[in-house]
Every structure is written in C-alpha cells, then in structure tokens.
C-alpha cells in the first residue's frame, strides 16, 4: 500500500483513511465492551429485599445489621423470588426468615408454607407449616419441605400426600433428586394409579 502524505494527522491507505480519531473510537468501543462484560456478573448476583417498612438495627459487629421487613416482604435474586407477610435478614449469620403466606418460586420449583428459614451460606431452605410443593407435574403437601441447593435435593417430610401426572401418592417422606430428576417415596409409601390399582 502506498503511503500518501496527508495534511491532517491521519494516514490514507488506498482510499481508506485511518486516523487518530478512528483509533480513539476503536479504543472506546473496546473499553465499552469490557465494561459491559465486567458489569454483567454484578447484575447477575444482584439481590434485593423489599417491603412496606424496613427496620435496620445495628448488630454487635461493625457494618452488620438485622433487617426486618414488615408488610409485603419480598426477597429476589436472579434465580428465585420469595414473598411473605414479613421477613428478617441477619447479616452476620446470613439467615433469612420469612413468615406468613410464604411463597418461594424459581424456574423449576414452587413452594408455599407458613414459614421459611433460609441459610444463604449453605443454600439450605426449610419450609414449615402447611408446606406445599409444585415440581415437574407433582403437587404435594407435607409438614416440612427442605431444599438443599448445593446438593440439588428436595426432602418432603411428615404426612406427605400429593398427585403426580394423575397418580395420587402418599408417604412419610419423599426424596427428590433435582439433578437426576428422581423421586423416591419412603415409609408407608402408597401410589394410587388412575385405573384404581395400588
């Protein structure tokens, strides 16, 4: 390519003008892309606690607080959402507690209960009091529903009764492997087939 002297700061190659401002523009473009990439993970781990009133109390450690939400409590992340009448979040223990008409909903799981106790560090959620689970065509009630996020397991305990794809079932305990999508009924397990046989 022939280099043609230019009157301005740029150089012209066979009709293509590549000057300093183009480089700056390209650099800005790259910087913006990097910024978008950098910001995306932050947005992904965005968490929010909402309510009609929020009480914030200082805990014994610096910069640690107890957040008490009163009225229409909502906790949401990119993966799931929890609603309830009221909620408490303890920042040192990393424990979240929801009470009154609690509903947990994610892409695959829907749970309602009177109370939810959620340990964020262990990703362990324990629903208690008239718990009800909806998962892949299964609708079941139990005294307690325990969700272990790291193990990808669900445990229903205490008088489990429900319907799955038209089949009624009952058991003392139901174990659901979310990763393998396996359901295991334990203790006096019964399945009532649609035709009437057990």
């Amino acid at each position: 390519m022939k280099k043609i002297p230019s009157s301005n700061n740029g150089l012209i190659y066979s009709g293509y003008k590549f000057n300093f401002s183009s480089k700056v523009f390209a650099a800005i473009l790259v910087a913006m892309l990097l910024l978008i990439v950098a910001v995306t993970p932050l947005q992904a781990s965005y968490q929010e606690l909402e309510g009609d009133d929020i009480y914030i109390s200082a805990l014994e450690e610096e910069d640690e607080y107890l957040f008490e939400v009163r009225g229409n409590a909502l906790f949401k992340t990119k993966d799931f959402e929890i609603t309830g009448g009221e909620a408490d979040f303890h920042s040192i223990r990393e424990e979240l507690e929801f009470r009154r008409n609690v509903i947990f909903s994610s892409e695959d799981i829907w749970v309602s209960a009177d109370k939810l106790f959620y340990e964020l560090a262990q990703e362990r959620a324990l629903f208690s009091g008239a718990a009800r689970l909806k998962y892949q065509g299964m609708d079941a009630t139990a005294e307690e529903v325990e969700h272990l996020g790291q193990e990808e397991m669900l445990y229903l305990t205490g008088g489990v009764e429900g319907v799955r794809n038209g089949e009624e079932f009952s058991a003392r305990e139901v174990e659901i492997n979310l990763a393998e999508e396996k359901i295991n009924l334990k203790g006096q397990a019964r399945i009532l087939l649609p035709g009437g046989g057990e």
Binding site: L49, I54, I56, E62
Partner: protein
Amino acid sequence: MLLKELPEWWWKRPGLGKLSDICERSDEIEPDEVKPDEVKLDENELDENELIPIELVDSEQGASGSGEASWVKPGAEQSGCMKSGLVYSLGVRDWEEEPGRMRESQAIQSQLKQAWVKISTKINKKREFTRVSRKLKKFIPTLKFLLFFVFFLSLLLPVGCEREPAEEQPSPDPEPPQQHEEMVEEDRTDVGDEIAEDKIVGDEIAGGEIIDEEIIDKESVEIISEEIIDEVLLDEDDSLGLEPGQMVRDARLRLYSEDGSIRWEVSSKEAVRRERAAEISFYPVLVDSFTGENGKFNSEPAYELAGEEGHYLEDDQILTLKGDARLESRELLFLSADISWQLESNLIFSREKTIIKGKDFSAYGQGFEAEADLSRLNLKGSSGERARIVWEGSIHEENTEQ
C-alpha cells in the same frame, strides 16, 4: 435519580476545605498542593497587624507547611499570607461599611474554621483590651501631667505619695458580665461594636452576655458565638409575622445532658434569633452528635448532620434541616431532605425520599425514622414505592470476601 440532583456542596464534608479554595484569589497559589486537615496556631500572644505563625498539617499526604498570617483590625486593608507558596488571609474588612467584603471574609472564616475559632477567641480579648486602651489614651496627657506633678511633689515633700498604678496601665481583663449586660439593656443600637463576647450561656441569644451557670448542671442549651452583630435582620416574608431578631456569626449551639455531657452541637456561619417565634435559624447548619451507646455520650462526635439551613424551635424542641440534608456516621450515609430532630423523643426523622448507603448495600425509602444513636432505624415505604435494600453482588460472596 436523586443523587444526580444533589448539589455539589452535598458531597463536600463540612469544615475545612481545600486550601486552594481559600487561596483562589491569590497569584501565589499552588493549588491542590496541600489540603490541610488541621490548622495549628502558635500560642504566642497576638497583636494587631502582627504576623501569626501558622502550621498546616495534612495527615493524608503526610505533608505539612508553615507560614504566617496576620490579623488586621476592622476597617483596615486585609493582608497576611502564608509563605511557602501558600497564601491565605485571616483579615477582616469593615463589615458595616462593605457588606460584600463581609461575605468574602466570612467564607474564609468558614474554610479555616478551626483557626478562626482559636484566633478569634484571643482577638476578642485583644479587642476588649484595645477598646479600653483607646479610651485611656485620651487621658494620657492628663496622666502625664499628674505624674509629673506627683513626681514634683515627691521631690519637695519628705514623704512621697503613692502612685496609682491602675491609671498607668489599663487592665487587660474584659469588662465584668454584669456591666456588659447593663450596657446592652440600655442601648442596643450601640451594641454592634461594643459587644465582642464569645460565650453566651442559657437559652437567650439576644442582648450580649447572659450567664446562668445553674443551667449547665441541668439539661440545657448553650449558645456560643465568636461575634455578635447587632444588625436588624428583616425577614423577607413578612407574612410569617416574625419579630426582627439578632444575627450571630459563627454560632455554636450546644445541648447538654443532665450530667453535663455534650449531647450535640450545632455550628453555623450565621444564626438568627426570631424572638416571637422562639426560633433560631442557622445558615447553613452542621450538627455534631455526641450520642453514644446505651444513653452515654462520646467525647468525639458519633455522626454529623448537615444542611443548607436549620431551624430550631425552642418550644417544641425540634431542629429541622430544610431542603437537602445529609447525615453521616462512620458506617452509614443518609441522603434525604427536611430532616428533623425531635429532642424530647430523641428521634431523627424525615418524610422525604431517603437513600442510605452502607458498606455493601444501598437502601431506598420514602422517609425514615431513627433513634438518635442510630442503633435502630425505620426506613419507610409508600403505596407507590416500597422500601427496599439492594446488595450489589451476593450477600454470601461479600461476607466471604470480608
């Protein structure tokens, strides 16, 4: 966004500003070279037109500088510059003759508040001394004649006469408070130049020195001022029906607990007493709260509250910061508007939009209510917009990083 709407002053910490701000009118400036966070003064006695040694310390950058500044008596040209390339003035022009200059000097006072406070305490004493000296100067020829006459007599008589030392040297002590108060009661229009008291105790602000030591032992309010100017401040809004009051410059108002600890201190460049409404207004207002845990009080401020203007209603015992206001503690920063402090219930509250910034979260509400020690606060939502707290990033991840 509320944040974008906030004025620039919002983000500046009250108190000492950059030295470059102070020196911007000088040709000798080297801006941003030193940002002092402390101004120390030499303990030497000050004389008018005398250069005062000053030391500036910047703990952040480990920089320090020393230089000189001068005090110029009212009415004279101001001068006095820091050496070492840094320049500022502590001089004050004649306020009454040049109101514009008054504001300029006032800005300087505000920037160098620490220095100003220390200097002006001494200056007030010096002024008192100077005023008495001027009066006595008129009698110097007479004194000289009397001294000569007494000396002549002592030569003639075998037994010498005792001289009157008090007439030779004026007493540097300020006038007794009672005399001062009487003077103010008799003729308030002459108070402007005459009153240079720097302390008023009690819940009265007008009329010079009012001291009631018993109040200090109780829960009380103390008003301290460097200057009292007997200017009649006419309120622009006559519909308020406020009586014209006095204005106090560089005022501080303190509230004491029953055991004599300072509960909080309000500082302002200007404070105006509106007598009929039992109200004191501050322009701007800075509140240092010494409230500690379990009802105790700290020696250092636990947090500060700042706004463009504040109004203290004495009867209701409410201090309200009108307009945008900021509350900053070590852990939390509140950005809100029309923040009120109800002393009786010891509650701080606002009904306006509020943002609270914590170390790893931001809280948004339509008002807040907090106990004075900030140990517990209520962030309020409304029907249209609920209160919410946002963590940028996972709560668990942030705790793990810590």
